[in-house]
């Protein structure tokens, strides 16, 4: 393993650790007295520090160390957690993430905020610690070679003269030796802390002829006199924690001795330090051999392992996955082609062949789903990033905000997660800045002064729903309308429904903030959000009720490569329309059809009149007025609400592979992409939202003029 790949591994692990850190901090907010949570946070910071030391990332080590020291005070109950400290921890976590990122990209981190937070953190520490900190800087380098040495530097200068006696029982498992650990080195490390006496317990030593050289039969009892903290001792054993049975007892502090050791050792077993894995470069061996440390600890740590422990994962180059996805897409097309060919043959009595064919279809679909699942990732990291955005936004605006996340584990395509980060950031900022009222105002209204922003993700009927809800004042529709009229976005005479007013927010160049704040309202508005979501094949909608808050809902397709669609015919062409957008299909009864004006047509659907849009005409495929035959598809569109699309006929419902038109040609209005049908022909996938918008152009432009002038150059 080259140095750079170890480095990469370190940063990948840092990301996981930071995630654990954010999660732990959130849990601390709920219950700061839960020592396991505090320990988990401590471990995360500590592991980052340990790894950073190995790469001589001094600033990171220094910051992590200060952070960790304050955490340690909380852990040893010398420091009570209050709201202020919690906020500092959050900010420290953010700063740590920044430092890690800066170290990864090898650029200079923001020294100003780092210094500010360091100062605040140091304020919680006595003078002694700050001295220690200075002494610490040089230490990790000196011990670079041995992974164990990473932590030793920390306790270099003994800070007090008071010696305590620790009784340590150390029972290694065979796995400890199998992983290449050497007890002697551990004892050496302990001996550096103070006078150490070691006794080997040979009672379990078997007869010579039954001796198994790979078994671990010798247990040790150690007595150490040192001024150091118990944590320091645990750190010595950090890398072997899961591989041995360890008991540390302090003779002169019985309270701590009873309380802490089991907690600590268990916490670290749940979370084997990643630096350990990197150092061993053989994580699998460790996982395989972990089970038998002792029945007791195994059962104790098992339930905790499930949600938190490192699940065996495989890191794969994204390109490989994408290639696989493409190939599977071809497979689906191929399967459709074969099906069609066989149908065309009209073989007599081929019942078993159709069965086989059906099985093939299911298999192809299974493979496709499996492959797509590889790309799927939980939205959790995305949501965690938002918690930081909320904090920062709250700080700038001086509002108190609490972020609640629901459905963290909902899985979404990786690309979606990546491309959703910016729009979501924008929306969350907006929710804090514009959505929530000021604390005084909230108190006046009898609301909790802390505003709540709820971020939730869920899977519903083949789509991913992401909601950003605030419990603020709701949209001020009068002001939105006023603003839109002022900016000339709507005519003053326009009569708009509430829904339509809400949707004005998505118009380009719309910003409601009366004064442009630092946070939002920089001209990039909700239209950018809308476009970003639309580019992912999704849509955004708003619901708002005055006084109770606003909810933005983003609906996204589960995957970006395949979708379910109706195969329809329009004029003489075969096209596909996404099923997700269709509410209902109607075979119209001539009685329900009514004309409005010369060109308009509506259908009455359960008492409501819904405008009919002729797809063929909107696409310019047929100029004459369609006869009233055909099928109507009821869709709900962003711009026009409920609309009925007139198509020739519906032929089939099937899964289609989405092929971009833009890669070789360009965007076409009303068409989102293309797909390849069973006969090898290309069918266009319609975009109902855009399709409906084409109406005015189709009506008002004379047929000779170019429908899309912006595409023409000469």
């Amino acid at each position: 393993m080259s140095n750079s790949s170890i480095r990469d591994t370190f940063f990948e692990e840092c990301e996981e650790l930071l995630e654990a850190l954010v999660e732990g901090l959130a849990a601390m907010e709920e219950n700061a007295s839960d020592m396991e949570v505090v320990n988990a946070v401590f471990r995360a910071v500590h592991s980052i520090k340990g790894g950073a030391g190995a790469f001589a990332l001094d600033r990171l080590v220094n910051f992590a160390h200060t952070f960790e020291t304050v955490m340690d005070k909380v852990r040893s109950k010398q420091l009570a957690v209050n709201e202020e400290l919690m906020l500092l921890f959050h900010r420290s976590g953010d700063q740590l993430a920044d430092l890690v990122e800066a170290a990864r990209d090898e650029r200079e981190p923001n020294a100003e905020s780092e210094a500010a937070i360091l100062k605040e953190l140091s304020a919680y520490l006595g003078d002694v610690e700050s001295e220690e900190e200075i002494a610490f800087d040089a230490a990790p380098l000196a011990f670079d070679a041995a992974p164990l040495a990473l932590d030793i530097g920390e306790h270099d200068p003994p800070t007090g003269t008071e010696l305590r006696r620790f009784d340590i029982r150390f029972c290694p498992t065979p796995a400890l030796y199998a992983n290449g650990h050497e007890p002697l080195l551990l004892f050496d490390a302990l001996a550096e802390l103070g006078p150490l006496s070691v006794t080997a317990d040979l009672s379990r030593l078997p007869e010579f002829d039954r001796f198994d050289p790979e078994d671990a039969v010798i247990n040790w009892r150690l007595t150490l006199l040192t001024s150091e903290d118990e944590t320091v001792l645990h750190e010595v054993f950090e890398f072997v924690d899961a591989l041995c049975d360890l008991e540390i007892a302090v003779s002169d502090e019985p309270v701590v001795a009873v309380d802490e050791p089991p907690l600590d050792s268990r916490a670290s077993q749940g979370l084997p330090a990643p630096t350990d894995r990197a150092a061993l470069a053989e994580p699998k061996a460790q996982e395989d051999t972990t089970p038998p440390p002792s029945a007791k600890t195994a059962t104790a740590s098992a339930p905790r392992d499930e949600p938190r422990g490192p699940r065996p994962t495989l890191r794969v180059d994204l390109d490989r996955v994408d290639r696989l996805i493409n190939t599977v897409g071809e497979l689906i097309i191929n399967q459709a082609m074969i099906s069609q060919r066989i149908e065309e043959l009209e073989l007599p009595a081929v019942a078993h062949l159709t069965n086989e064919l059906e099985a093939y279809k299911l298999l192809a679909r299974d493979i496709q789903e499996g492959v797509m699942a590889i790309r799927a990732q939980p939205v959790k990291p995305l949501f965690q990033r938002m918690s930081r955005i909320v904090r920062e936004a709250a700080e700038v605006t001086g509002k108190k905000v609490k972020l609640v996340t629901v459905g963290d584990s909902t899985e979404v395509d990786k690309t979606v997660i990546e491309r959703l980060a910016d729009p979501l950031t924008h929306m969350v900022r907006n929710a804090v800045d514009h959505g929530l009222e000021r604390p005084e105002k909230r108190a006046e209204l009898g609301k909790d002064t802390t505003g709540a922003i709820r971020l939730s993700a869920s899977h519903r009927s083949g789509s991913v729903f992401i909601e950003i809800a605030d419990d603020g004042a709701g949209l001020n529709r009068a002001r939105i309308l006023e603003k839109a009229i002022e900016k000339g976005l709507v005519s003053p005479e326009a009569e708009l429904s509430e829904q339509e007013v809400d949707n004005l927010l998505f118009l380009p160049g719309f910003s409601t903030a009366a004064e442009v704040s630092n946070l939002s309202g920089r001209g990039v508005g909700m239209d950018v959000v809308k476009n970003a979501v639309a580019a992912l094949g999704g849509r955004v909608s708003i619901t708002s009720s005055p006084g109770a808050g606003t909810t933005f809902t983003i609906v996204l397709p589960l995957t970006l490569a395949v979708m379910d669609g109706f195969v329809i015919s329009i004029a003489d062409q075969t096209m596909v329309i996404p099923i997700a957008s269709i509410i209902e299909t109607i075979r119209p009864n001539p009685r329900d059809l009514h004309c409005i004006g010369t060109d308009g047509e509506v259908i009455s659907v359960r008492g409501a009149y819904v405008p009919i849009v002729d797809v063929a005409r909107n696409l310019g495929l047929s100029s004459e007025r369609a006869d009233s035959s055909g099928v109507l598809l009821l869709v709900s569109t962003e711009g026009q609400g409920l609309t009925a699309l007139r198509v020739g006929a519906i032929h089939d419902q099937r899964q289609v592979v989405i092929k971009s038109l833009e890669s070789n040609y360009g965007a076409i209005a009303g068409v989102s992409a293309a797909t390849i049908l069973g006969d090898g022909k290309i069918a266009l996938i319609l975009d109902p939202d855009e399709l409906v918008k084409l109406t005015p152009a189709a009506i008002f432009l004379p047929p000779a003029s170019p429908p899309r002038p912006e595409l023409r150059h000469a």
């Binding site: 310019g620 070789n664 290309i682 899309r708 023409r712 000469a714």
Partner: protein
């Protein structure tokens, strides 16, 4: 792309010549991926006349242009010798419908003459140079110009 000014003097270039709109054109052979028989394409809505539609090329969706219409020489008339030249440049693949493919032309760099100083800017853009073959003149198509102005008539 073919670079007229810098190529070594004696280097041989191979071109595939074809006719479109009763004129003779050619493309450098390295830009051509394959030549296919004309098969009906899927029409695209709201596109200029020279964009015939899209075709399935082994799973990729590629646009097909009528080269004659694109050069303003009128639509290609249906003919059983019509073929689609699949060409690639700069990461995009397109198909060009032409009347017929004639031959492979191998010429030295020196045989390629600069485009005569004609008035039409568009035509100068679209033609890299000309090669004289016997009595006739073959125009070297600038594929980039065809690609750059996607969706518009050159």
């Amino acid at each position: 792309m073919l670079d007229v000014s810098e190529a070594p003097t004696e280097a041989q270039f191979e071109f595939i010549t074809f006719s479109a709109g009763d004129q003779s054109f050619c493309l450098e052979i390295t830009q051509i991926r394959e030549i296919r028989r004309w098969t009906p394409v899927t029409k695209l809505p709201h596109t200029p006349d020279d964009v015939l539609g899209v075709m399935n090329l082994r799973g990729a969706v590629i646009p097909i242009f009528d080269l004659s219409a694109r050069f303003g020489l009128g639509e290609t008339i249906d003919n059983e010798r019509n073929v689609v030249i699949v060409a690639a440049a700069g990461g995009t693949t397109i198909g060009l419908l032409v009347e017929s493919v004639s031959e492979i032309l191998s010429v030295a760099k020196s045989a390629i003459q600069e485009t005569p100083d004609i008035k039409s800017e568009a035509a100068r853009q679209a033609i890299l140079g000309v090669i004289s073959v016997g009595e006739s003149m073959v125009r070297v198509v600038n594929l980039d110009a065809v690609l750059d102005n996607e969706g518009g008539t050159v």
